[in-house]
Structures are given as structure tokens and as C-alpha cells.
């Protein structure tokens, strides 16, 4: 795990929460219902530790949305929920749905859009922090276990993952999900030094 100072952590959380607020406003308007989004926790973890976090959520499988990033960060951005929570989110937001046990094609597409809005918000605040450009691809629906999602078997476990806990507030219930961004070491150093520069400028 990478140690960051309390001040750095507060600053990142603050920046992310501002962009989460605007993502929530977009979602609320789309579904005509109060949606809230917040990031209560930020961590930097190694790939396998991040996979373990998913595997410890009591859900055998997670599902959600991934987008790949290019530019100042290269890798994947993910928004994941325990599989049955993904189902609840989509069905609460869409209202009228098909009562089957997994998401239909149209529902997966809707989940992709929800993920797209949230991930674009996160990626753009990280790009703002870095003062660099990050381009991201279109969202794709994925599911699997923590190890499958983070390709623990095939990838270098020394890679770091920015691991955010996300509270998705809907209809007086709060659903916990996770946003993760894969970071390469160079971009991580940039990230921390930009962070310090901005903190000292405040």
C-alpha cells in the first residue's frame, strides 16, 4: 500500500466529491429522482490487495462497468458493485423492468451509461489534478470475481490501484460500490507531486 498523508487524502476526497456531486445531479435529472454520490474512502492498493477487497465483499461475483484510459494515465477505470446490487441499482433507476434474474441487454446498456457518467466524473477530476489530459473509451459491462476483474493471474501485482469506495444513495437506501483506477508508477509520482503543488497553492 502507498502511504499518503491525511492532508493529501482529504484533498483527493474533496476534489472527487465535487465531481461526484455533478455526476449525481446528471443522474438525478435523467431519472427524475434524488440520486446522491459520495466518496467516503480513498486508498492506494496493489492489484492483488484490490482483488482481495472485492472478494471480501460477501458477494461471490461483482459486476459493473469498465472504460480504458489513455494519455496521462494508461489502464482501466472500473465501477463495480456486488452483482445483485447492480441489479437493484438499474431496476430502481429504470422503474419498469423485466423481472428476470440477470440484467437484460437494455439494462446492461443502461448500467453502462450510469457507469460512464460516474467514471467520466472521476477520470476528469483526476485529469484536473494532474493538469493533463486523460482520454477514456466507451464503457463496457463486465462481471467476475475480484481476481478475474484485476487479472491477478496474468498481470504485475506491483501495479497500484487507486481504490475508492462509493456510496450510491437511491430511494433512501445507500448502495456501496467501488471505483478503481489502475495507475502506472510514473503517473502516480506525477499525481502525488501535482497534489502537493495544489495543496500548497490553496
Amino acid at each position: 500500500m502507498l502511504e499518503i498523508t491525511e492532508l493529501q487524502r482529504d484533498y483527493i476526497t474533496e476534489v472527487l466529491n465535487i465531481s461526484m456531486g455533478s455526476a449525481a445531479a446528471v443522474l438525478s435529472e435523467m431519472v427524475n429522482e434524488e440520486v446522491s454520490l459520495s466518496v467516503p474512502e480513498v486508498d492506494f492498493l496493489q492489484r492483488n490487495a484490490a482483488a482481495n477487497k472485492f472478494d471480501q465483499t460477501n458477494a461471490a461475483r461483482m459486476s459493473g462497468v469498465t472504460q480504458s484510459m489513455r494519455g496521462a494515465l494508461t489502464g482501466d477505470a472500473l465501477l463495480m458493485f456486488p452483482e445483485e446490487k447492480t441489479l437493484s441499482i438499474v431496476r430502481i433507476l429504470l422503474g419498469d423492468t423485466v423481472p428476470v434474474e440477470s440484467l437484460t441487454e437494455m439494462e446492461q446498456e443502461a448500467m453502462c451509461e450510469i457507469g460512464n457518467i460516474i467514471l467520466n466524473a472521476v477520470v476528469s477530476s483526476v485529469a484536473d489534478l494532474l493538469k493533463k489530459e486523460i482520454m477514456s473509451s466507451l464503457p463496457r459491462f463486465i462481471k467476475g470475481t475480484g481476481s478475474e476483474i484485476f487479472s491477478v493471474e496474468t498481470c504485475d501485482n506491483n501495479d497500484l490501484v487507486m481504490f475508492l469506495k462509493v456510496d450510491f444513495g437511491l430511494e433512501s437506501q445507500s448502495i456501496n460500490g467501488y471505483v478503481t483506477l489502475m495507475l502506472n508508477v510514473d503517473s502516480l509520482h506525477d499525481f502525488i507531486s501535482q497534489l502537493d503543488e495544489q495543496i500548497s497553492a490553496v
Binding site: 435523467m30 433507476l93 419498469d96 428476470v100 437484460t104 446498456e109 443502461a110 451509461e113 482520454m135
Partner: protein, 404 residues
Amino acid sequence: MSRSVRSDVININSDEAEIIASPSDHLFGKVLDLSENGLFLVDSDRKIILWNEWMVEASSLNRGDVIGSTFVEVFPGLKGRRIESVINAALDTRTASLLSRSLNKVIFPLYFSEARDEARRIEQSVTVKPIQSDGHDYCLIQIIDVTPMVQREDVLRVLAKEAEEALQVAEEASRFKSEFTSTVSHELRTPLTSIRGSLGLIASGVMGELKPEIGRLIAIACNNTERLLFLINDILDISKIESGKMDFVMGPVDLKAVLLQSIEVNQAYGEQYEVKYHLNDVIDGTTVYADTDRLMQVLNNLLSNAAKFSPKGTEVDISVIQKDGVIRVEIKDYGNGIPVKFQSRIFEKFSQADGSDTRKIGGTGLGLSISKAIVEKMGGSIGFDTEEGIGATFYIDVSLYADV
């Protein structure tokens, strides 16, 4: 009719301007026009610079009507909508976006017919991607027709709803059947109990000496009343099991004590068939996890069955085997065994090996089905081994108490 496109106005090189101006004269233009998706390109001034044939047909707007105009001029109704802001995001921050059909019911006013009939509106999934070329930013908007998918899911929705309703009706009918069975059985049992009581008093002679012929008739009436009561009790048990109303008080049960008691209860019944029960060694203090009364009911059923199907003068062997926290009680008879064709149905309701046996042997054909349900509710299992002509061994497996 295409308006001529000046590349210096719209920030593209002259080759590309050529293609855009008359796509049908160029290979790449033809490719764009043959696409099954709607495609259009917006430049950094929000002006539309490419509009493929799919867009021409679905929007009823020709290239000349749109190229060079801003996105909002072409679609005034979309000003301030999400599609406008994601196009801005693609051009300003190079962000790619997806607009799903489910969360954006109406995106572009596009139709399958020129009449722009609402029923013929194209259901859309829209992607918005940033493109950079020669130092300029563009935004590519792709429209995928998802109408067939929407229709498919509408059908699925109707079918799922119908299936749910059918299930409710079936559950309701099943509940009604259980309640009906249980009510009727109760109502039958009450008068029958008093008939049996009265007949018993008459048969015992306390009401006065009976003529032998009358005594014989009363005995027949007594036996048949008894049989009816057994049947009703079994039906009540089955309906309780089926409606989930049979309660179990699970706890430690001294197996040897229950076996001895069950043998005692069945002794007289065995004597009718001239069959003796023999209990092989059981370790004292063997304790299983069960409901005492229900376990007793199962053992009584297996012991009485064994006697019923044993030849005169034979024994029924009862053994207890312990293995890996599971206790098996085996009840072995030396009768004719279970016919192969009946083996698969033996635990079904109202089943007996041979319909014609029923009268001779007696019983309702519900006992094993009830026993199976009880043992399974207690977390155990029931089964049998048999060889025709040699005999049958029924067994139940229950958990040892310590391992629960």
C-alpha cells in the same frame, strides 16, 4: 442536393472535404453511406460536417440542409439536453459518452418513415466519441437502431408478467387445496372418533352381551373405522407437510430409548403377522439430532411395514450403524423384496407395490411418503436396498447430536 463544402471553413483537408461533399463518388464515402448505423461528425464550432445516408433517411434531412449548420440549429429541441452536453464534453475534454435507450427515452427525432409518425420512431442507443485529426477536435455521433431489442424485451416483459400471474394462480389453487383437505379431514375425524368410541363400547360388551353374528359385524365396523382414522391422520400429515405447517422441535434424542419404545408399540402388530422384532446392539447413549415424536412416527411406519411384508415366523432385524457423524438405522425384513418396477415410485403418495395388495395388506400408501418428508425436514435422508425374493432393508440417516 449537396451544398459544396469549403475545407477552409470547416477545418478539414481538401481530400476529406471532397468525400464529405459527395460521398457517393468516393470509396470511404460509400462505406459511410452503407453503414447500418447513423453517423455524423461535428467540428469544434459545433457545426455538422458529415451526415451519412442512414441519417438522411431517418431524419428526412438532406446533407445540404445540415452540413455547415450547428448541431443545435439542426435539432433545436435538443438544446440544453444531455446529448448537447456530452457533445460539448467530447470536444472540450475529449470524453467519450454513451446514451442508453432506457435512460434517454427520446434522443433524436428519427423515424422509419417520412411521415414522422410517433409509432414509427427509431429507438436509439447513441455513442459520442472525440476524434482528433491534424490538430483539430471533432466529435463523432453514432446512432444504433435498438428498436428490435426494445420490442424483444417488451415481449419478454409481457411473458414474465404472465408467468408470474400464472404462478400466483397456481399457488393460490394449491393453498386452497391444502386448506380444503385439512378442513375436510378435521370435520371427518370428529364424528369418526365418536363412532369408533361407541362401536368400541358395544364391542367390549359393556352395553350387554352381543349375539355372535352382531359381534362379528361390529368387529368389521370397528376395524374399518380404525382404517379410516389412519387414512385421515395420514392425509392431515401430508397436507401439513405440503403447506409447511408441520412443526418440528429439534433437539437431542436418545436413539436406543426411542427404538425400544417403537418396538414395544409395534409388538402387538407384529404378533398379528407372527413376526418378531430383533434389535442388534446399540451403543448406550447414542444421541441423534431430531424431533422425538416425528422420529418415532417414522420408525413406527418402517417397523409396521417390515412386519406387514414379512413371511410368518420370520424376524425383522434392526441395526444402528455410526459413520462420520451420521447415524444410520436399518430395518431389515426377509419378505419378497420390492419389485423393480415399483422401486422408483415407492416414496410417492398413495403408492403400493400392487393395487390388489392394498386390501390384503392394509395401509394407505401414504406412510413412506410422509416418512420421507419428515426425515428430510429433520435434515436426514431415507432409502432402501432390496433384492426380489430375499427381502428389503429400509434405512434412515440422521445426524449425531454432537456434530450439529
